[in-house]
Symmetry: C2
Subunit: 175 residues, 2 copies
């Protein structure tokens, strides 16, 4: 698929509700267990998505519009959620994520984007030149990546429980 703003917005609009359905009403271990070591649990992932809404996608799109390649993006803090989510409930985080995403999609609409915008270039702190369109496509894929991650992290909690079926369940041996 070639990038289109309409297609991108379709996915971006429903991620908060999808995660709410996937995670609401689950017992603590589904939400709090991770894949071992320093990996993230579903609670951490929602916090990370919130931090992205606040500091990554729209702020970077605006940097490109205002400064082009001249000003590199502020590096993204992949660990901010550990402090920011402390003491909050998952439900609270899911509501915050949904509210921020709604605002950001309104902002996106107010930017009145056109084909000229999509080809604009910005500067990524690691990669160097990237386009406005690549940033938007990445926002979409990033959502889907974390939905898949949450499903995988929860699936792995039953890795030992499925017995020989592990051979048919590729999610249990992924990553």
């Amino acid at each position: 698929m070639k990038f289109s703003l309409a297609h991108a917005v379709e996915i971006l609009s429903q991620t908060p509700a999808t995660l709410k359905l996937l995670l609401s009403g689950l017992s603590a271990p589904w939400i709090g267990n991770n894949e071992g070591g320093q990996t993230w649990n579903p609670f951490d992932v929602v916090g990370h998505l919130i931090h992205g809404e606040r500091t990554d996608w729209i702020p970077r799109l605006k940097i490109i519009i205002e400064h082009g390649e001249a000003r590199p993006f502020t590096p993204f803090d992949r660990f901010a959620q550990f402090e920011a989510s402390r003491g909050k409930s998952l439900q609270e985080l899911l509501e915050t994520f949904a509210a921020l995403r709604r605002q950001n999609l309104e902002t996106l609409q107010q930017l009145n984007l056109n084909e000229e915008h999509f080809k604009l270039k910005g500067t990524h702190p690691d990669f160097g030149p990237v386009t406005f369109e690549q940033l938007l496509a990445t926002w979409v894929v990033h959502d889907l990546d974390h939905i898949a991650q949450v499903a995988r992290v929860m699936a792995k909690q039953y890795k030992a429980e499925v017995g020989p079926w592990i051979a048919y369940l590729s999610i249990l041996t992924a990553r």
Copy 2:
């Protein structure tokens, strides 16, 4: 996590609504594109889940209760959905999946399962001996596996669109 019926039902109950949220209102290419070759698109996956509700999980649990190890499970047809879903809309498939899952969870409740059931053994056509509990755990992981698959298949449609960010998006290089 050790298997528990209550934990399992939490996931099994919300899969249909999660998939409905994830997939409703998307343009045709998100639903109809696959990962290349003989891989499945999201439409195929929902058809596969329907076939599982009809012929796999509850029927196999009942075979174990009624026949124990004496009668091997009927092999599952992984390709049934290509015929069964023909001419149907995704929305129709999502509704059918939700209705069948609801019925199957009612059936599960009516079975009045206890710890004795969980240790019962059945015979898988490929693996040989499996337990009732492993079958229930597999039902849960199978749901999560296909939610993750749907997210991955859609993410890959933008593989070429994210530019250098592909380095940070492990879902695009998975499988």
